[in-house]
């Protein structure tokens, strides 16, 4: 039996991180160059962790599959980043951000981690500004803020609608600074395919050079996975084409437990799907819900254009149902409500899967210039994609898979159940419980990368023992395993490309393990995913040539892991007999259709152990305790 010990420090919650910092062991400045850290992924978490560790003097090797670290998908985040600065003088505080995040996550996250996140939020803004991140400013030159879903204060900092891009370029430039200083090395177009364990401890990685196809070995004193989330399991999502679960899944297969894999977020404001061969969905920032009003026509089969539908015949379903938060209800609730009205036949657009996001009233009240100043680039982006002008006609939006709250189980030090293997950012399950609030992902990735992992990884390396060389037999064995997996993909010799299997699987997952789930549907999904997996391994087509740039091989390799993850998500969703946050089981709802939690049995994290061919995965539970915030039914009414 595995016991999950979060190793959270004792004492009052507000002092715990300081207590930990005061006691952790250090590596002297002269000894740091002798310690190597491997960081997988160069998004906000990976770049910030790599830059911070390198700046301390450790030798860092940083890997990304893209052609430049700057292209990691954090770059696409739009709306903003939360921090408890309280510049707006609303009485905001660390405790309020902590409570909002715990409540927003529907009481399924670990209190001590969330408190630390809220505490560190201020430092992130300071750090980013020092790097030259151009956050929006008020007329006097001070930082501007706005509000986001699920909260009643304005604590979100932003750079137009490109906050992720600017923070990403800040972290990227910090990493490039360390490359120039000789402390960090970036391996672009390299993909991690396995972790090397020696006596159960992470000692290095096996990566594939995507240009030459060479399999490379890299040894390190610690391995940090910052490889992002897995919502591409749904095929159509707001993630990048290359976003994948391979790094975390391979670690999971080696023994790292995967926590709450069924907790995925379906984001309410995305551009609706238009055709079968669409490859991805584009998010429209949640910040638009500050000024845009969401509605559908009150009658089915409405044929009039939106501008001609009178006020009385519009159903502002979020405002009616959740008067306190209105259009700013949290993402899980807003998404389900949109799905509900479309299920009732009130949806708009060609597919009937869309709702209006209307700026008519905001433009009348504040003027077009003001709206353009706040959202200009988002409006332009919408027009580029849809061909419609949102200043004149309402946008159409629909929910889309966006974020994975689940991920590798980590303790307070962000270490997985494999010693020496850390997971940060979206790759871990950490702070968002069953639902993430807007503008909290950027906050968490950077808190992990700039301020937590650099200390906890250092602490670990004081006791990690001697480094193992890449000539160790464990490297031989792992490389053999990786090479035979690659060969098996090429050897299938069928005639269907990986994208076709991926699309088929994504449809099953979205339909049966998406916004709304039932025991029956999940059982069907399990069978269907297994069937698709069998088809994949009998009719896959991959270009020949493994010692060269081979994108069809890269893609097939990622899909082979998604197919296994899909099964685990269904197991997890089946076992969790309650509704919470983004996990909505139709069997468990209140009479008025809200999520019904079961705190007695499920106020816990479920971390799964991989068994492969030996049988179904085994769940292990970490009990969650709520001492600093009272367990309560989430209400945004």
């Amino acid at each position: 039996m595995i016991t999950l010990d979060a190793r959270t420090p004792e004492g009052p919650i507000e002092n715990r991180w300081q207590t930990w910092l005061d006691q952790h062991r250090l590596v002297g400045p002269r000894n740091r160059a002798g310690k190597n850290v491997i960081v997988i992924g160069t998004g906000l978490a990976g770049s910030s962790a790599a830059a911070s560790l390198a700046a301390q003097g450790f030798k860092v090797k940083s890997f990304c599959y893209q052609d430049s670290p700057r292209r990691a998908h954090s770059i696409a985040a739009q709306g903003g980043i939360n921090a408890t600065k309280d510049y707006a003088n609303e009485g905001d505080s660390v405790r309020r951000l902590f409570v909002d995040t715990i409540k927003g996550g529907d009481f399924r996250s670990r209190e001590a981690n969330v408190w630390r996140l809220a505490q560190l939020s201020e430092n992130i803004i300071d750090q980013a500004v020092a790097q030259g991140v151009p956050f929006n400013r008020e007329y006097g030159g001070s930082l501007a803020t706005r509000s986001f879903g699920g909260v009643l204060v304005q604590r979100t900092f932003y750079s137009r609608g490109q906050t992720g891009q600017q923070l990403m370029l800040g972290a990227y430039s910090a990493l490039q600074h360390q490359v120039a200083a000789g402390n960090a090395q970036v391996f672009n177009r390299h993909e991690m395919l396995d972790v090397v364990l020696v006596d159960g401890v992470a000692r290095g990685v096996i990566v594939r050079n995507l240009v030459t196809g060479e399999i490379e070995r890299h040894a390190g004193d610690a391995v940090v996975l910052a490889s992002g989330g897995y919502t591409n399991v749904y095929y159509l999502s707001t993630n990048a084409m290359g976003s994948n679960v391979t790094a975390t899944w391979r670690a999971h297969k080696l023994g790292a437990l995967m926590a709450n894999p069924c907790f995925t977020q379906i984001h309410p404001t995305c551009i609706p799907q238009s055709g079968e061969y669409q490859s991805k969905l584009t998010l429209m920032s949640e910040s638009l819900r500050n000024d845009g009003r969401i509605w559908v026509p009150r009658k089915t089969n409405e044929a009039r254009p939106p501008g001609e539908i009178p006020e009385a015949e519009r159903l502002y379903f979020l405002e009616e149902r959740y008067p306190a938060y209105g259009n700013l209800a949290p993402r899980d609730i807003a998404s389900r409500a949109a799905k509900g009205v479309c299920d009732d036949g009130l949806g708009v657009g060609g597919t009937g899967r869309g709702v209006y996001l209307d700026f008519r009233d905001a433009i009348a009240e504040h003027g077009r210039d003001s709206i353009e100043g706040k959202y200009g680039n988002l409006f332009d982006m919408y027009q580029k994609i849809s061909g419609d002008n949102p200043y004149e006609t309402p946008m159409m939006i629909y929910p889309a898979p966006h974020y994975a709250m689940g991920g590798l189980w980590v303790d307070y030090e962000l270490q997985t159940t494999i010693p020496g293997l850390f997971a940060i950012g979206e790759a871990n399950f950490s702070d968002h419980g069953a639902n993430r609030l807007g503008a909290s992902a950027l906050m968490q990735t950077l808190a992990d990368g700039y301020f937590v992992a650099p200390h906890t990884v250092t602490h670990y390396m004081t006791q990690s023992g001697d480094r193992v060389g890449t000539d160790d037999s464990a490297f031989d064995a792992t490389q053999d395993k990786v090479e035979s997996h690659i060969a098996s993909l090429v050897d299938v010799g069928g005639s269907t490309v990986a994208q076709d299997f991926h699309r088929e699987m994504g449809n099953v997952m979205l339909d049966k393990c998406g916004m709304s789930r039932t025991a029956e549907g999940l059982s069907e999904a399990l069978a269907e995913v297994r069937r698709i997996k069998a088809d994949f391994w009998s009719d896959l087509r991959v270009d020949p040539g493994v010692k060269e740039l081979n994108q069809s091989l890269e893609y097939a390799n990622r899909v082979s892991d998604f197919l296994e993850l899909g099964e685990l998500m269904c197991h997890d969703a089946l076992r969790r007999e309650e509704s919470c946050g983004g996990h909505f089981r139709e069997e468990h709802q209140t009479p008025d259709g809200e999520a019904l939690r079961d705190d007695e049995h499920f106020a816990k994290v479920t971390a799964w152990q991989y068994r492969g061919d030996e049988g179904d995965p085994i769940p292990h539970d970490e009990q969650l305790t709520f001492e600093d915030v009272k367990l309560a039914t989430r209400s945004y009414k």
């Binding site: 910030s48 830059a51 700046a55 893209q66 052609d67 430049s68 700057r70 292209r71 998908h73 770059i75 300071d126 750090q127 500004v129 020092a130 790097q131 030259g132 956050f135 929006n136 400013r137 007329y139 030159g141 001070s142 750079s159 137009r160 490109q162 891009q165 600017q166 430039s173 910090a174 490039q176 600074h177 490359v179 120039a180 970036v186 672009n188 240009v211 990048a240 084409m241 238009s274 055709g275 079968e276 061969y277 669409q278 490859s279 584009t282 998010l283 982006m381 580029k384 061909g387 650099p454 005639s495 269907t496 490309v497 076709d500 087509r541 270009d543 060269e548 740039l549 994108q551 069809s552």
Partner: protein, 257 residues
């Protein structure tokens, strides 16, 4: 919709390469250019032929992975990235030519994939503020007028796709470098390293084999982020400041009595 595609195929950097013609049929007008290429690859896979290699990632115009030249224009005809170019904007039955960037400093790796790591090395030469993680001053202790922030932001939105270089008859990266120098040198945080930043980044551009600017303006014309030619003026000005800063300083020397 149906299209005839004339696509550059090149096995590796040493291969001479050639155009290959393929046809795609039944394309949804709402498909993006890259989704059309996905369908071509699915078809090639079914026919057991080698798929076409091309870079893409976010497919929403922000990561800068796209690097196609469509009908002679880097990123395509509409001054948006290839991933945001839609088939509805092409004529049904059209012949479309697809090539990789062709410029010395960014060589072809395979088919439509090019090596743009030279741009990273230009950033390593000075495209950052030399600060490290740790306690920093409160941002409101250093007010920045919104107009300055806006101007810096107009340059900071560069996605590093390299279309500017591909469009330039000289293969110059001055729009890319100018955008980074403008972003950082306008802000108070960027002042201490202002002169050497421009100087070092320009030297690195030369070392990578990028050409100089002779004011064609093609770079700005194709830039998906519509970065203004003004950043090149700024880069030239800042470079002169950098050259001036290289001259030995005349300090009063203390002489032993």
């Amino acid at each position: 919709m149906n299209f005839k595609l004339v696509i550059w195929r090149q096995h590796d950097p040493d291969d001479q390469g050639e155009f290959e013609t393929s046809e795609v049929t039944g394309i949804d007008p709402e498909s993006s250019f890259l989704e059309m290429l996905d369908q071509l690859n699915a078809k090639l896979g079914r026919e057991k032929k080698h798929t076409v290699a091309f870079d893409s990632d976010c497919r929403e115009g922000i990561c800068g992975s796209c690097s196609l030249v469509i009908d002679g224009t880097p990123q395509g005809p509409h001054q948006v990235t290839a991933c945001q170019t839609y088939m509805r904007d092409f004529i049904d039955g059209a012949t479309i030519k697809v090539e990789p960037y062709r410029t010395n400093a960014m060589p072809v790796i395979r088919d439509l994939v090019t090596d743009r790591s030279a741009l990273d090395r230009v950033i390593q030469a000075g495209g950052y503020i030399s600060t490290t993680t740790g306690p920093q001053p409160d941002p409101n202790s250093m007010p920045i007028p919104p107009a300055v922030q806006e101007e810096a932001m107009d340059a900071a939105i560069c996605i590093g796709c390299g279309a500017c270089v591909a469009a330039c008859p000289n293969g110059s990266a001055m729009l890319f470098t100018g955008a980074k120098v403008t972003h950082l040198n306008l802000l108070p945080q960027g002042q201490p390293e202002r002169a050497e930043r421009a100087f070092n980044m320009v030297n690195q551009m030369d070392e990578e084999g990028f050409g100089g600017c002779t004011n064609f303006g093609e770079c700005s014309r194709v830039c998906p982020q519509e970065i203004s030619l003004d950043v090149i003026g700024m880069l030239n000005r800042e470079y002169r400041r950098g050259v001036a800063a290289q001259k030995p300083k005349h300090r009063a020397k203390m002489t032993a009595q």
